[in-house]
């Protein structure tokens, strides 16, 4: 894999440019606010999403207080509880995870990692962020709208989402649907950028099979998002029509609290198919960038080539393709034709194979490596444990008949928080600790980072692992209080209280991260250009943080893949992707790898 097809590099003319032709921003406003620099847009995306993330975290505190100590907090009644879970879920999945992993990391890392100067459509890229911000404002506005935000659950299933038995049906549901429509319009502009930049903007020598897995993950997820989000877009438009103009796309003839409504002939299941045709790929839209990033964190901090790179790339593509034919595994007990169960259970369990390959390759990268237990590495290890746990419980829920007793119980809540809540969040933290020095020029505090890691990793595991057993017991999800049932032992409510206390602690520990993030901008240790001694291009920029245009006069040329760590016979333990073969220092290496 480390072979260098030199002919290919030599053929291409260098791309030296006059400084003026880069269209540098001329005013404070175009530099920091209406910026077309992907790196600035990335920071805008990330900061906005972090704000939403902290709001969503606060909402989860309130809902956990109600579940752990039902009746103690008078202001959290059933309606408020449903509004809390709905907004928490939708915020985290769409407005935090998707926004950070694609809008945040995608914008920062794609151009730098493929050696481009910027995204190929900078203006559309800027619009993408402002659409996202508008979507966020519309979403938050629903907290102040009459009737409050929608409490339909993040799945927004009709008919109840637009009927009066559900909180927020006055205006909250309308704002939610409009916000999603705006978000998707904005994402499409960003997503096209990510895809076209990877396909067309790579520098000399950066073949597809030399790209870091981070880029592969974000690229594949962007393609998937461009195919999956339209399903949510049309579903949102159709439900909006049902709500505002009395159409019946999803509305059969029905009774609303004793009164017969004018709807008739629509299908609630149609919405579920559309929603999950988006919703399942969405899981992998969040997961694939995390897979890619974690591969790079592990390789860099274990000082070892990622094991089975080509298999990793094919696994990403296989998961991406398969994820479009598994959606109805969310619908085994929805009343759809039960024969679908055979097909969707089979496809769902097949997807476990490429996913397992990725896990094996991560741990085989650790094997016989030189593992530096830095903060990013700790988060990567925490991710593997959490993801494997959540992935394995997915084999229960994907296997149709096993899902029947478990679906709609707390088992499902525990499963998806492990696999697509905590796991990607751990990667996001690890990635921020990892790339922060490139973005700011300074390191984040390591001791605070480790403290943050241990509380977050152990705390979330101790929250969500026992939660599965509430589901096995038969506690349904989306109950604002567990209530009494003959088969709930008293200890089940104790478990709920314990989970709440832990959730408060883990949530509060995120302030450590926030403090570290802000404090280190000025007070962190100077990082230099490549503090982790990493190979990929973003660490080889002439200046740190990289200025507009990234590379100064000349874009880098690439001679090898991104994983040349500890190559035998080379005098240092890494070879940057842009180091020409003749410059590689040969000879014996000092025993200690340099970095502590």
């Amino acid at each position: 894999m480390a072979d260098v097809p030199l002919d290919r590099v030599a053929e291409t003319a260098t791309t030296e440019v006059e400084d003026l032709s880069l269209h540098h921003p001329h005013s404070w406003l175009t530099r920091y606010v209406f910026s077309q620099d992907a790196k600035t847009i990335s920071i805008q995306y990330t900061v906005t999403a972090l704000v939403i993330g902290f709001i969503a975290l606060f909402l989860s505190w309130l809902m956990r207080l109600q579940l752990g100590f039902p009746g103690t907090f008078a202001f959290i009644d059933a309606a408020a509880y449903y509004q809390l879970i709905t907004m928490h879920g939708m915020m985290m999945i769409v407005y935090v995870l998707t926004a950070v992993l694609l809008g945040g990391f995608g914008n920062y890392l794609i151009p730098l990692m493929v050696g481009a100067r910027d995204m190929v459509f900078p203006y559309a890229n800027m619009l993408s962020y402002w659409f996202y911000l508008l979507a966020v404002v519309i979403l938050l506005a629903s907290f102040f709208a009459p009737g409050g935000p929608t409490g339909a659950g993040w799945t927004l299933y009709p008919p109840q989402a637009i009927l009066s038995g559900t909180p927020g049906q006055e205006s909250g549901i309308i704002l939610m649907l409009v916000s999603l429509i705006v978000f998707i319009a904005g994402f499409t502009m960003g997503g096209l950028n990510y895809v076209v930049t990877v396909l067309q903007g790579r520098t000399r020598g950066m073949t597809l099979m030399r790209m870091p897995l981070t880029v592969w993950g974000i690229f594949t997820a962007s393609v998937m998002a461009l195919l999956a989000f339209p399903a949510l877009f049309v579903a949102s438009v159709m439900m909006l029509f049902d709500k505002l103009f009395g159409t019946s796309f999803f509305m059969p003839s029905l009774i609303e609290l004793g009164t017969r409504l004018d709807y008739g002939g629509g299908s609630p299941i149609l919405f579920q198919h559309l929603f999950w045709f988006f919703g399942h790929p969405e899981v992998y839209i969040v997961a694939l960038p995390a897979f890619g990033i974690v591969s790079d964190l592990i390789a860099t901090h274990a000082r070892r080539n990622i094991f089975g790179y080509r298999m990793m790339v094919w696994a990403i593509l296989a998961i991406g393709a398969l994820s479009f034919v598994v959606w109805a595994h969310h619908m085994y007990v929805s009343g759809m034709n039960p024969w679908f169960g055979f097909f969707f259970a089979t496809t769902t369990l097949i997807i476990a194979v490429p996913t397992a390959i990725k896990v094996y390759n991560w741990i085989l990268t650790l094997w016989r490596g030189d593992i530096h237990l830095t903060v990013p590495m700790l988060f990567a290890l925490g991710f593997i444990v959490t993801f494997v746990n959540g992935g394995l419980s997915g084999l229960f829920l994907g296997n149709v008949v096993v899902d029947v007793p478990l679906s709609d119980t707390m088992f499902v809540v525990a499963h998806f928080h492990m696999v697509m809540g905590i796991a990607p969040v751990l990667v996001i933290f690890g990635a921020i600790y990892h790339w922060y020095p490139k973005v700011t020029g300074r390191m984040m505090n390591e001791a605070l980072g480790k403290l943050h890691f241990w509380i977050t990793f152990l705390g979330t595991y101790a929250i969500f692992f026992p939660m599965h057993y509430l589901g096995l017991l038969g506690v349904p999800r989306r109950y604002h209080e567990m209530g009494e049932a003959s088969f709930f032992p008293a200890s089940a409510q104790m478990l709920n209280a314990y989970i709440t206390v832990l959730a408060l602690i883990v949530g509060a520990a995120q302030l450590l991260f926030l403090f570290n993030l802000i404090w280190s901008i000025r007070h962190g240790r100077e990082a230099g250009g490549n503090p982790w001694r990493a190979t990929s291009l973003e660490w080889q920029t002439p200046e740190t943080p990289p200025p507009h245009g990234n590379w100064g006069k000349e874009q880098p040329a690439v001679y090898r893949w991104a994983y040349d760590y500890n190559v035998p016979g080379v005098a240092q333990d890494f070879i940057p992707q842009n180091m020409p073969p003749e410059a590689v220092p040969l000879g014996a290496r000092p025993a200690s790898g340099g970095m502590s």
Binding site: M1, A2, A78, Y82, Y157, P159, Q160, G165, P252, S253, L254, I255, R260, G266, S267, P268, I269, R303, R304, N305, Y309, M311, V333, S334, G335, W339, F342, T346, A352, A356, Y360, L366, R368, I371, L373, V385, V388, N389, L392, S393, L395, F396, N399, V400, V402, V404, P405, D408, Y469, L472, L473, P476, H480, G483, F487, P489, Y565, D573, A591, G593
Partner: protein
């Protein structure tokens, strides 16, 4: 060192928690013990994989942690043989879970021909039931027929519905040992009929009829919970199923009134049309 220890404790601790957990499924009261068996198989396979992966990680983190006198790092981009073995092994494990799962699913969706029918109707936020009466057939229904006198929307023209027995706001009674097909209907939003002891559950959907079947295997009174979010009253949408011996069931059935005494049948029907 302590990282490896933490990983080790997570692997072992999770198994210990699983074995000692007081929170486990309720004793079964239907024929679906097959489902419990498939869950058990899945626990075994996934548990082994989880412990193996985390322990291997713990060992790697301990054995290959950074030290001043570092052993040679292995530069090995690929190992086709190992990768294929792992892929094939995983495929076998997946098949070992999928095959019994699909086998039981086939049983789950195949209703025995001799099953009794009972209709379960949901609306915000209560359960109603309808039994077919002496003719063994349920009458047709439609939302447009619903009125204060006809809360479940029976078609007044359908003679099969005349002897149907309605249970509103009460308990569903089932005889033990006889397969029953539950036909599910919702009048407003999505609901889900969930009795943890039966293991089976299914959504109720306005505008269509869904079903599941089971054979009760244990007498007793079991709680019904709504398991599909249906608005603010969701957590309070409870009910009871009473599984009784055949004779007790008969005694209960005797006391129920048919939906529509025959004399009442004709006149209001035409008016409504």
């Amino acid at each position: 060192m302590y990282v490896a220890l933490a990983l080790f404790i997570i692997a072992i601790g999770s198994v210990v928690f699983h074995l000692l957990s007081p929170w486990w499924w309720t004793p079964i009261a239907s024929n679906w013990s097959y489902i419990d068996h498939t869950i058990t198989i899945t626990f075994w396979i996934t548990g082994l994989v989880f412990v193996a992966v985390v322990l291997f990680m713990a060992w790697c983190v301990w054995r290959y942690r950074h030290r001043p006198q570092q052993a040679e790092v292995l530069y090995e981009p690929e190992n086709k043989r190992l990768e294929w073995w792992l892929t094939v092994g995983t495929a076998i494990g997946v098949a070992a879970m999928l095959a019994p799962g699909l086998y039981v699913w086939r049983q789950f969706i195949t209703v025995p021909p001799d099953a009794d029918e009972v209709e379960i109707v949901a609306q915000q936020w209560q359960w109603s039931y309808r039994l077919p009466g002496p003719d063994g057939r349920l009458g047709a229904t439609a939302i447009r027929h619903i009125s204060d006198d006809n809360p479940l929307g029976l078609d007044p023209d359908d003679p099969r519905g005349a002897d149907d027995i309605m249970v509103q706001g009460g308990e569903l009674h089932l005889p033990i040992g006889r397969p029953v097909k539950a036909v599910l209907r919702s009048l407003d939003v999505l609901h889900d009929f969930y009795v943890p002891e039966f293991r089976a559950k299914m959504d109720l959907i306005p505008g269509m009829v869904t079903y599941f079947w089971l054979t009760p295997t244990r007498t007793g009174t079991f709680e019904v919970l709504c398991a599909e979010m249906c608005g603010v009253g969701h957590a309070f949408m409870r009910g009871f199923v009473v599984v009784a011996e055949e004779s007790d069931y008969r005694a209960w059935l005797e006391q129920q009134q048919p939906a529509r005494p025959t004399a009442q049948r004709t006149v209001p029907v035409m008016a409504e049309r």
